[in-house]
């Protein structure tokens, strides 16, 4: 049997077919996990936000008109919920401890592992810059797609990306040379 397209699965899910929705979850879990973990680190909250993304999507199935791809739509929800979570953390004045929990897993200050150092520097970025860098640099979206997902002008994406990469390069100077 041919694999069902996302649109077909969405239509079936709308009609109450939970198996179809489960297929959508399995298909897009990787993408959502990548985005949420890039934004929040590997924290328990990241898993909660991941679940919330799919629940929100399920609740919004009636409104989903298919103007954008399912993965793009889910990415947008994932970014927005992650930004909300970061704001919540800030309100709780515990952003630093939470970020340390997620981003410092198995990392020491003397670690020479470039990827872990990059991940750490990444977590220090301002959330808005991190969102741009996540989509453009980690997930591989184009500048235009990034602008569409975040609902910001192309020029803003470019300036945030330039500032994010400058900050990352500064922090990783000795590793990148």
């Amino acid at each position: 049997m041919a694999e069902q397209s996302d649109d077909e699965l969405v239509e079936n899910s709308r009609n109450g077919d939970l198996a179809a929705f489960k297929t959508l979850v399995i298909r897009h879990e990787g993408k959502v996990a990548g985005v949420v973990r890039s934004m929040l680190g590997s924290t328990p909250e990241a898993d909660d936000v991941g679940q919330e993304v799919f629940i929100r999507f399920y609740e919004a199935l009636g409104k989903f008109r298919g103007e954008s791809a399912v993965s793009t739509y889910l990415t947008r929800i994932a970014i927005n919920l992650s930004l909300n979570e970061i704001k919540r953390r800030k309100r709780r004045f515990s952003i630093f401890t939470k970020e340390e929990e997620g981003w410092h897993k198995g990392t020491s200050d003397n670690s020479s592992d470039l990827n872990e150092m990059i991940a750490h520097e990444f977590s220090q970025l301002d959330p808005d810059f991190r969102a741009v860098a996540t989509l453009r640099l980690i997930e591989g979206y184009s500048t235009e797609e990034t602008a569409t997902i975040l609902g910001i002008p192309l020029g803003t994406v470019l300036s945030r990306l330039a500032r994010a990469q400058k900050k990352l390069r500064t922090g990783l100077e000795k590793y990148l040379n």
Partner: protein, 135 residues
């Protein structure tokens, strides 16, 4: 000027810059500092770019489906209890009307409780069906 070239470089990664912009970028890249920044950025990007599919762990999809099922149950309960409130109120009104009917009527019959008046045969107006035809 430097920022403009950096923007141009970032745009070039999307592969949609014009030939004129390409030439301008190539020219700018003769600047060693910009070249170094660009190389560092490309190295950074290749390290950051996702190479493996991430996951929330086993049974993630099952957890979502269970959550949706419990969410549905919750909504059903909410609807049930929402209408239950009105059901109780409606029953209360009906009982009150029945009690009122009992007080207002002279005799306690099933009909009087329901609010039907006992029509006396004399009071029933007979209709002569043929009246209009014969006139």
């Amino acid at each position: 000027m430097k920022d403009l070239n950096e923007d141009l470089f970032l745009q070039s990664l999307d592969g949609n810059i014009s030939d004129e912009q390409k030439n301008k970028l190539n020219e700018a890249m003769t600047d060693l500092a910009l070249r170094k920044n660009a190389d560092q950025f490309l190295k950074l990007r290749s390290n950051l770019l996702r190479k493996e599919v991430d996951s929330f762990g086993p049974f993630f999809a099952e957890r979502i489906i269970n959550q949706i099922k419990s969410l549905k149950k919750e909504i059903d309960y909410q609807i049930f209890f929402f209408f239950k409130k009105y059901q109780v109120a409606a029953i209360g009104v009906v009982v009150a009307l029945m009690v009122l009917n009992i007080f207002l009527s002279d005799n306690l019959t099933f009909k009087s409780v329901l609010g039907f008046e006992d029509e006396q045969v004399d009071n029933i107006v007979s209709i002569d069906l043929y009246q209009n035809l014969t006139e």
